[in-house]
Amino acid sequence: MSQIQQDPKPFLKKFLSSLDIQFNSPTSSTQFANVDQYATSFGKNLKRSSAVIVDGTPLIPTGTDDARLEFQKKWIQVPLTMHQLNSYDCHLIPGTGVFVINLSVKVKFDESGRSKLGESADLVHDSTGSRNTRPIWGSWFGVNINMVVDETVINNGDGEVISSFDYRFTYKPDDSVIRI
């Protein structure tokens, strides 16, 4: 019985945290040489050819940019996130070597007005001298995620293993200013 080892949970947690990475976090050991390196760290378990759908809109490869890169280009424009895994369930589909995984997740966004790179579109800056750039987390959104993931994820969660990724908001709090 290797069913207990066949648990994609560590992979799922790692994948979700790859969506939440900060560019310059004082508490994190992760440092990125440049913005490209930062952006390509989001969802790096996606295959380049993945089918990616965010809130009902497909991310379609353009020119030289594959679907994963389109996702990463989109994700760097989204304010900083914090995902929490509430629930998941999965089936290994016989004869395919893949899991179908349904995740129930919540996410909150940094509503400070800053981008992931710490930039603000405000023309007038706060001049009180405060340099506190901690995120200001908004209310929780509900999200349902569906993924098709190679069975090999059990042994190696670092590879390009996700062949489809469908991210759907199921609840949007009405006090949020975030648009995706």
């Binding site: 809109t57 509430n86 629930s87 369930d89 098709v148 995706i180």
Partner: protein
């Protein structure tokens, strides 16, 4: 870009999946036994409960529930929320495999009404190809009303095997029926003679959250 309530990879997928879902939910609400033709010996079905999924607290309906929370009593004993189910035995036993087990699992869920025909706005979908088996993936999100208790009591086994009286509902006290929201993922593959087979069916149950997530106009 932006939020779109329905996504279909192409016209063929649109036709197949909308037909599939409308017939499926009609039978799910009407007579679940009629759905068994879609399942075969390797088909899998399981449910999971996310009781802490965010939702808008509706103060007009909370009086019918204890503490204002949603009663998931009809679902929890079968819930395969794998963040909470760690024993191998439970992980295996909570997946129904093959027609017989799946039918039994269906009968342990409350009877329902999905207003897909009269109020399609309540639902959103993403439908795309599952190339490995020449199949399609259909993901539907929405809500339903519980109209009656399950055909068979999902908690009957627990009452017999579990410690008497301790965390169990008192005998004959049925969970309160209410609206729920759900997400459901089907992998549908072609069967013999143009038929369809459900290879995988994952149902997620959560507190009622309505349809605003996919119908609100984005704020500026």
């Amino acid at each position: 870009t932006g939020s779109t309530s329905m996504f279909f990879q192409d016209e063929e997928i649109r036709n197949m999946s909308t037909n599939f879902i409308s017939n499926y939910l009609k039978l799910w609400d009407g007579n679940r036994g009629d759905l068994m033709i879609l399942y075969q010996s390797e088909s899998q079905f399981s449910i999971q409960v996310d009781s802490s999924h965010p939702y808008l607290l509706d103060t007009t309906t909370t009086t019918s529930y204890s503490n204002g929370g949603t009663d998931f009593g009809n679902y929890l004993s079968n819930s395969r929320n794998l963040t909470r189910v760690s024993s191998i035995k439970s992980r295996i036993s909570r997946v129904a495999i093959g027609q017989e087990q799946i039918f039994k699992a269906f009968n342990q869920l409350p009877k329902t009404r999905h207003d897909l025909m009269t109020n399609p706005d309540l639902f959103s979908m993403e439908c795309f190809r599952f190339p490995l088996l020449n199949g399609i993936m259909i993901v539907i999100h929405g809500s339903f009303e519980e109209t009656a208790q399950p055909e068979t009591d999902p908690n009957a086994n627990n009452a017999q095997n579990g410690p008497r009286g301790r965390f169990n509902h008192p005998k004959h006290k049925k969970p309160a029926l209410s609206k729920k929201s759900f997400d459901r993922t089907f992998v549908v593959i072609p069967g013999p003679n143009g038929s369809m087979i459900v290879a995988s069916d994952l149902l997620s149950i959560r507190p009622h959250a309505g349809k605003d997530a996919w119908n609100t106009v984005a704020k500026v």
